[in-house]
């Protein structure tokens, strides 16, 4: 039988909060592990009354849903935290935002509404915006068209076990080109799955079908995540929680 630490078990989770945050600027170079560490420390500095797991190595209750790759920025990352005492979600948002580095912003915090299902089940798609310095929209557009016209575009993806061929086309629900300020912008909607297709893989596919090779590294931003419906719209994953609850005026107490 596993041994248990002496003393009472840690207090249970009494409230679940769902958080959307953004990583921007220099912190696009942060990995998921880097961000997770920063978030845990910020929760402590912000005095958020976290619930902890039991056992000899208690961990704060945090679930991360997906994670943008190292090098990509994001406006829509999600996590869920368990609290041992109830708090006003907006006050938690503000306190956590203040405790995090400038380039990590806590965009929204809502209480998980009972009976609306898990957050992870509401996310299956990413909306990406990729800036391509040194590339014009006139160059990008035909490449995107050639890509969309293909049934399968095989690219080599670097994995833990070396290079592996994957199809970058099947996961892409939509793609388009736009002229930006001094660069072309690629908009791409990608279904999440295994193997994961990331912006790098889509760019490798554009190189494969149309020999499009940007002269300097592209900059990707995940603009949204959510469930892709039949109309091609990506639904806000916090929508059901927000809808289930009407805010009480004057409730915003400090953490």
């Amino acid at each position: 039988m596993a041994r248990q630490p002496e003393g009472p078990p840690p207090p249970p989770t009494v409230q679940k909060l769902r958080i959307r945050y953004a990583k921007r600027g220099r912190l696009r170079f942060a990995s998921h592990r880097d961000l997770a560490r920063a978030l845990e420390r910020a929760l402590r500095r912000a005095g958020v009354p976290m619930a902890f797991s039991a056992g000899f190595s208690p961990h704060p209750k945090i679930s991360y849903i997906g994670a943008a790759p190292t090098g990509a920025a994001s406006e829509a990352e999600y996590l869920e935290i368990g609290l041992a005492e109830r708090r006003d979600p907006e006050a938690v948002r503000a306190a956590l935002d203040a405790a995090l580095p400038e380039d990590v912003a806590v965009v929204e915090c809502v209480e998980a509404a009972e009976g609306t299902g898990s957050l992870a089940d509401r996310i299956d798609t990413s909306v990406w915006r990729v800036e391509l310095p040194g590339v014009s929209a006139a160059e990008l557009r035909p490449a995107v068209e050639a890509f969309l016209a293909s049934e399968v575009v095989t690219v080599a993806k670097r994995t833990k076990n070396g290079l592996k061929d994957i199809d970058a086309r099947v996961a892409v629900a939509a793609a388009s080109a736009e002229e930006g300020a001094g660069c072309a912008i690629l908009h791409v909607v990608v279904r999440q799955g295994t193997p994961a297709v990331r912006p790098d893989d889509v760019l490798a596919a554009l190189a494969a079908v149309a020999d499009l090779r940007p002269p300097s590294p592209p900059r990707a931003v995940r603009e949204a995540q959510g469930r892709l419906d039949d109309t091609g719209t990506v639904a806000d994953p916090l929508g059901p929680d927000r809808a289930a609850r009407t805010p009480v005026p004057g409730e915003h107490a400090p953490v």
Binding site: R37, A42, R44, R45, P58, P101
Partner: protein
């Protein structure tokens, strides 16, 4: 020339660096912006310091010394300090290809734009990384090739107590505590700049050479005798001191740094904050350079410790605080510190820890107390020597019975992982001394299983090769060869694995003896060794502290070729025992220790005689206090820690 002067604007290189970061491993280490990092406006400061830790970011960021100086300097309105670390070869290659120079991670400013480049050497294996950084920075690697447009390169840290091997590459070395010395250096540089840089770089260095604790190698000439030993070290100017004494900060409570420790986003080697609870050590372990050069003992008071822990936790959000020093259980009020801190942080998931401790049952009690509120990791004890005999030689006496009893107590108290730290290659050591480590480990597991009633307890035996260091009684000793170390470790491994039923509970961690030999060359080397360092770097050597980058063959080949002209070789610097009156390369650098006392202590080591700690027994005349005008500062203070009014964070 004009081009160089116009670039010294502290302009950010980030826009040029950013495209390169997308192509390298762990880019987060280069972007800065850590919690509690600072970027001051360039123009506001009269003196600009770049502080370098010459190893990878993950190793360098947690370094306390650098963090302290970073804060101390940035608190001055007329100074600005930023940090820089060794750049991994993947980024270094891209930087060379794209003309991006060595930068600071705070403002991404070019290192060559700064007035002073301070480099902290905790280990000599960082020397090649200094050359690489200078070259990447566009600063001439040889001090004599630099002019006023180059930063003054200042070495500090424990290795700076013998900076002779890097004398060609650094402009100065600071001996001892840096807190006050960096202020004095700032004053000198500021005045010289304000006066319009009179006399150029030579005059600036001459002024720095008159600052207490600052050594400027170029003003000292070294000559050698026919047998290869040093015949004399002489001043080349009469306005610089003949001997350079170390700096000592006397009241630690007046220097509560770091107040706001840096918290990286990237993973680092220490995921905790540290509070230095005392500086210096008089236990007198004869192998320990740190314990010799940092005397006397200066304690931080219990209330000083309490407020640093409180402020640091608030500023960082860390879950663990390390109570740092050379032998933390020796603080005069450690029992009370442990208990009262644990009381304060009851129920907050805040762990407190001590670094490795002496083997003492009291330390298990302490560890129990400290880990009350946090995660219980392993316990580390450092008997250092395998046999009682060798422990008398190194002056770290503990009987075998006490050792087994202490470790058993730890298992009985619910600790399942105990690490024991030993050294191999100590003076007078035989195979039998090392084999006793196996006997000890086996007995520890046997007794531990019995006392705890558990089969899953583990003991990790961690072994480091001994490297004789300057300013210690072992500075005269012959270093054991790599072959000797490797042979003894092989024999030890076989002995531990002889009985698999016990052996499977014992882990053995060690490195081969080769890096230790090179560390030995760099530790006790003189100026002639600089040629070897430069050669190794030119042939691609860097990150010598990392086994995947370290090349023993490159070092031995470079040593053979570069030292031949002087009639000496690698063995001459490492496995050769020195005689009593040989002039050692660091004799003109004064740690306060009396050379005669060191020699006597060396002789006592050879006859296996112990010496007691001067905190509790009469002074044994090591020389430090009278030479430096210092004294032991210990408690008890009789004060106590009140509960915090606001806990629960």
């Amino acid at each position: 020339m004009t081009a160089e002067l116009t670039t010294a604007t502290g302009e950010s290189l980030y826009p040029r660096l950013e495209p390169l970061l997308a192509q390298v491993q762990k880019p987060i280490q280069y972007v800065g912006g850590e919690l509690n990092a600072q970027v001051k406006p360039w123009e506001a400061a009269a003196v600009h310091w770049a502080l370098m830790y010459p190893d990878a970011y993950e190793v360098g960021l947690p370094n306390q010394g650098l963090m302290i100086l970073y804060e101390v300097l940035n608190e001055r309105p007329d100074a600005l300090a930023e940090r820089t670390y060794a750049v991994w070869p993947d980024l270094a290659g891209l930087m060379r290809a794209h003309g991006v120079p060595q930068f600071t991670v705070d403002g991404h400013r070019a290192v060559r734009d700064f007035d002073v480049l301070g480099v902290s050497f905790a280990t000599e294996l960082g020397y090649t990384n200094l050359l690489e950084a200078l070259d990447l920075a566009g600063v001439p690697i040889l001090a004599r090739d630099r002019d006023e447009t180059s930063p003054v390169v200042v070495a500090g840290g424990h290795a700076a107590f013998n900076p002779e091997p890097v004398a060609d590459f650094v402009d100065c070395a600071v001996l001892g505590d840096g807190e006050q010395a960096v202020g004095d250096i700032t004053d000198v540089v500021k005045a010289w700049k304000a006066q319009g840089r009179p006399g150029g770089r030579e005059e600036l260095l001459a002024r720095l050479a008159r600052v207490d604790g600052v050594y400027v190698p170029r003003f000292y000439a070294v000559s050698y005798g026919p047998d290869g030993t040093i015949s004399a070290v002489t001043r080349t100017r009469d306005d610089v001191p003949a001997r350079i004494g170390k700096r000592t900060v006397m009241d630690l409570d007046e220097w509560p740094y770091p107040k706001t420790p840096l918290v990286p986003l990237a993973e680092s080697v220490h995921e905790r904050m540290s509070v230095e609870i005392f500086r210096g050590c008089t236990r007198g372990c004869r192998f320990c350079q740190a314990g010799m050069i940092t005397r006397p003992v200066r304690e931080r008071t219990i209330t000083g410790i309490g407020s640093m822990v409180e402020q640091g936790l608030r500023a960082t959000g860390y879950e663990e605080v390390g109570l740092l020093s050379l032998s933390s259980a020796d603080h005069s009020e450690i029992g009370q510190v442990a208990k009262e801190l644990a009381d304060r942080y009851e129920g907050t998931n805040t762990g407190l820890s001590l670094p490795s401790t002496r083997v003492d049952a009291f330390n298990v009690t302490l560890a129990n107390e400290l880990s009350r509120n946090g995660r219980r990791s392993g316990l580390t004890f450092a008997p250092e020597g395998g046999s009682e005999r060798i422990r008398r030689v190194i002056n770290k006496t503990v009987s075998k019975e006490d050792l087994v009893r202490t470790v058993t107590t730890a298992y009985a108290n619910g600790w399942t992982q105990v690490k024991l730290y030993f050294m191999c290659g100590l003076p007078t050591e035989t195979d039998e001394d090392v084999l006793e480590i196996a006997e000890l480990a086996v007995e520890v597991i046997r007794a531990g299983r019995e006392a705890s009633g558990r089969k899953d307890i583990r003991c990790t035996v961690s072994i480091g090769g001994f490297v004789p260091k300057p300013h210690t009684p072992f500075q005269w000793a012959a270093q054991a060869s790599a072959e000797t170390i490797d042979h003894r470790l092989r024999t030890l491994r076989q002995a531990i694995n002889a009985d698999r039923r016990i052996g499977r509970s014992i882990g053995l961690r060690y490195h081969d003896g080769k890096p230790g030999v090179i560390e030995g060359l760099l530790s006790r080397g003189d100026r002639r060794v600089g040629r070897v360092i430069e050669r190794v770097w030119r042939e691609g050597g860097k990150f010598d502290g990392w086994s995947e980058h370290f090349s023993y063959d490159r070092w031995t080949a470079a040593a053979a070729e570069e030292l031949a002209a002087f009639g000496v070789d690698l063995d001459w610097f490492t496995t050769r025992e020195r005689t009593e009156h040989e002039i050692l390369p660091w004799d003109h650098l004064d740690s306060g220790l009396d050379k005669e006392w060191l020699w006597d202590d060396w002789q006592e080591a050879l006859s296996e005689e112990e010496v007691a700690d001067c905190r509790w027994t009469p002074c044994y005349d090591c020389g430090v206090c009278p030479t430096m005008g210092t004294e032991i500062q210990i408690g008890p203070t009789g004060r106590s820690l009140l509960p915090l009014t606001v806990v629960g964070r």
